[in-house]
Symmetry: C2
């Protein structure tokens, strides 16, 4: 039987709020067995950019990561947020180790090719160094990933944290029974977006198709759920979506996805 | 016979200059055997603080690390500088992994007690996790330390990079034949500060006493040399001081310190 591994991704709203972050990290510290955390940086990077007078560049509503922006992301995600999380987990007796994709060559990526839009220094993932992660987990370390990868030629790349989480889960699935947790501000996939209690508790492939056709999975949930099923189709055992109480196991009100 | 381990500390002047940093990292990548790098962040943290309108607080000429400053140091040293160095070393085929003292609980420290001056969030080192470093080195990783430690209660602490380098060297000395390299802008200890060629090539304990009494070791060199001899007195095999050419072994013009 494979050992269990939990990969938890936290959203930006949690990171921006000191109290919410502490509640989350306490819950994360109590997750049993081997675990990996993936975080973005929320609006903190935009806030720092604004303070420094660096304009956020958007094309068709999509953020462009220019040279200044990748530096800011490296400072905020790779420095401030990552090290604070690591230090706070150490205080909770979790032997956390912060990583970008460059550290230990843990996540290799390439700069997204220019088609219609040049997204700048944004990474599309080529591979995850599962050997390194296995080694780190085997000496009782808990990897904490910021949403940064590298191109193996010295360039750091801003990379979607949801995708990092699912690619890590997929890479580890051959060795571990892997569960992927997306922890965000909602209680899961909601049948009625205005009703927090209307959580769809279980979604399999057939239900997914139905929810898509009904338009219940829409907007920001589309890429998120796409990521989830991509992971499931690549040997990840289970994907869960919900708020922090999902980790506590103090609630059954969250969404579980299986094939 | 013990394996050899090189611990290299680079100064701020190298970090601020993109070309000089590349030359240094090329030289570092060629250092044979196991190795660890320690870096500070030079003036980049001060520059960011100035841009953000955060005044540098000095008491009696000593920098005070308040809450805003420790955040800036975490962004610049722990994020920007550390991750750039790691990515650039990866491009040079060195499997670098960036660490603060919080990562893997690698360096434990406590906030410096207030005597005459409250230095703020400045760390005095209590211990180095040599077991972790041995493990990382054994899987072919090259640890890259920024000058940040933690107090095990969730607080990050700004810590002198020279001291981090010597404490790591001391902690590893029981397992490895450890050489400590301080790489800076001078060619070593100079007999005449205006003559770059006047390097004192070898200093032992007796010569150290003489150079101190002659006033040749003065100012910023006093704590640096104190650190060096502290390391030697605690089983570090050799300490070398010089510029980047010392690592290349393309010069004999650097200072070697032994007991």
């Amino acid at each position: 039987m494979k050992d269990k591994l939990s990969i938890v991704k936290i959203g930006g709203n949690v990171i921006e709020d000191e109290k919410a972050l502490d509640v989350f990290l306490t819950a994360f510290s109590k997750v049993e067995g081997l675990k990996i955390l993936v975080h973005g940086g929320g609006k903190l990077a935009t806030q720092l950019a604004t303070k420094l007078g660096i304009a956020s560049k958007l094309i068709d509503g999509r953020r462009i990561t220019d040279k200044d922006t990748v530096d800011i992301i490296t400072m905020v995600y790779g420095g401030l947020v990552n090290k604070k999380i690591v230090a706070q987990l150490q205080a909770k007796k979790i032997n956390a180790i912060g990583l970008s994709g460059a550290d230990g060559n843990s996540i290799q990526a390439h700069k997204r090719p220019i088609k219609d839009i040049d997204y700048g220094f944004v990474g599309d993932i080529d591979g995850v160094n599962s050997e390194l992660l296995k080694n780190l987990l085997s000496i009782n370390l808990t990897p904490i990933f910021c949403a940064i990868t590298h191109d193996s030629n010295g360039q750091l790349l801003n990379t979607n944290a949801d995708t990092i989480a699912s690619e890590i889960a997929i890479a580890m699935a051959s060795v571990f029974e892997t569960t992927l947790y997306y922890c965000f501000e909602k209680k899961g996939v909601l049948r009625d977006i205005n009703d927090d209690q209307s959580v769809v508790k279980h979604i399999n492939t057939a239900a997914y198709e139905t929810l898509l056709s009904e338009g219940i999975i829409a907007d920001g949930m589309l890429p998120k759920l796409h990521n989830c099923f991509h992971a499931l189709q690549n040997d990840v055992a289970k994907v869960c979506l919900g708020d922090v109480t999902m980790l506590d196991k103090n609630t059954e009100l969250f969404t579980t996805l299986t094939l």
